[in-house]
């Protein structure tokens, strides 16, 4: 009886719950991917280089998949009723336009910078490495989007989880930034 009641209560919000869960998963996965990328690029981990690269790639692809689910399931939400343009084109959504745009820009930046790995021979490895550094910025935009627009952003558990996921990546980013000499920042890290 209780289960039936719960199912009835949460039934109309399934798309919304799915979108929120995918967003939470994307936040954690992207933070882990950034951590591994910084560990590899900053030569902070000397062992198991190929394994780290494979894990970094898999986590990045999983992040993109979770972000796609996060955006696309919102199309079925009965409250917002967004169009495909509103969830994929910046400044088009009327709901919290600034934060929604931040999330959309973060998604496209992550997708382009991440998937450009498969075209790095064409782009040029050094140029690709320089471009790939902006992934950290896209990730930061995504974190800002989750804190600014996330339904659970005011909840203690969400803040604790975000802190746990984001702090290591921020620490590694800071370490990498401080360890790199100013003149060598334009040079490739490897």
């Amino acid at each position: 009886m209780n289960q039936a009641l719960i199912a009835t209560a949460a039934g109309p919000h399934l798309y919304w719950i799915t979108s929120r869960a995918a967003g939470i998963a994307a936040l954690i996965l992207s933070s882990l991917a950034v951590c591994l990328g910084l560990l590899m690029g900053g030569r902070l981990s000397k062992r198991r280089g190929p394994d780290l690269r494979v894990a970094h790639e898999a986590l990045s692809l999983a992040t993109l998949a979770a972000l796609a689910v996060h955006g696309l399931t919102l199309l079925g939400d009965g409250f917002l009723h967004p169009s495909l343009g509103e969830v994929s084109v910046p400044f088009l959504s009327g709901y919290k336009t600034f934060w929604t745009t931040t999330g959309i820009v973060a998604f496209w930046a992550l997708a382009l910078l991440g998937l450009s790995y498969y075209a790095r021979a064409r782009i040029g490895v050094q140029r690709w490495r320089r471009l790939h550094r902006f992934t950290a910025l896209a990730w930061a935009l995504g974190v800002a989007h989750s804190l600014g627009e996330g339904t659970d952003a005011g909840q203690t558990w969400f803040l604790a989880m975000t802190t746990l996921a984001v702090l290591p990546a921020l620490g590694l980013l800071l370490t990498r930034w401080l360890a790199t000499p100013r003149g060598a920042q334009a040079q490739p890290s490897s």
């Binding site: 919000h13 799915t18 996965l29 494979v54 919290k96």
Partner: protein, 190 residues
């Protein structure tokens, strides 16, 4: 030019490179296995992360602790309206709607109070008018007996009726006659 017999060359090459080739093959296979294992681990981690987040959000929503839905329910409940507007971290749209509803409710309350006051005033005026009519008839009957004081008594009744009606409505001009002069009742009684 004489080529060495194929079989002997093959035999020497195989003998020289067999161990290296098999070693390379084994290493490649191990790398592939490791890659597959890492990808499977990441896929499993992603799926379990998504499932955990989905379950968490679902239970939170079904148990009535969802931040957005609790804000909406508080919006529908007028008693806890101000608390909901102040404390919830729900959408700005919800807050705006709640504020609009509060303003509407306050306006309706004010209108109802005004209506009640007007009805009360009208009832008091009617009661006072009825009392004045009764008093004037009794005074007229007395005036027939005492013809010398007829003029002063008639003026006193009109003054009394006006003062009684003004005391019930609470108007400041009740002590004075319509011409703005002091009430003859007050002077004669004092």
């Amino acid at each position: 030019m004489h080529n060495p017999p194929r079989t002997s060359r093959r035999t020497t090459l195989t003998q020289a490179q067999l161990s290296a080739r098999s070693l390379a093959r084994a290493k490649r296979a191990a790398l592939r296995r490791r890659t597959r294992r890492i990808r499977r681990t990441v896929a499993g981690f992603t799926a379990s992360l998504f499932a955990a987040a989905f379950l968490g959000v679902y239970v939170q929503l079904a148990s009535g602790h969802d931040p957005a839905l609790s804000a909406a329910s508080k919006r529908n409940n007028p008693s806890s309206l101000t608390a909901s507007v102040a404390s919830t971290s729900g959408s700005s749209k919800a807050k705006a709607e709640a504020q609009r509803a509060a303003r509407k409710r306050a306006a309706a309350k004010r209108a109802a109070e005004r209506k009640a006051a007007a009805a009360k005033r009208k009832a008091a005026e009617d009661a006072a008018a009825g009392a004045g009519a009764v008093e004037s008839t009794s005074e007229e009957a007395n005036a027939e007996g005492a013809s010398s004081e007829s003029s002063s008594s008639s003026s006193s009744t009109t003054g009394e009726s006006s003062s009684s009606s003004s005391s019930t409505t609470g108007e400041s001009s009740g002590g004075e006659s319509s011409a703005g002069e002091p009430s003859p009742v007050s002077t004669s009684q004092s």
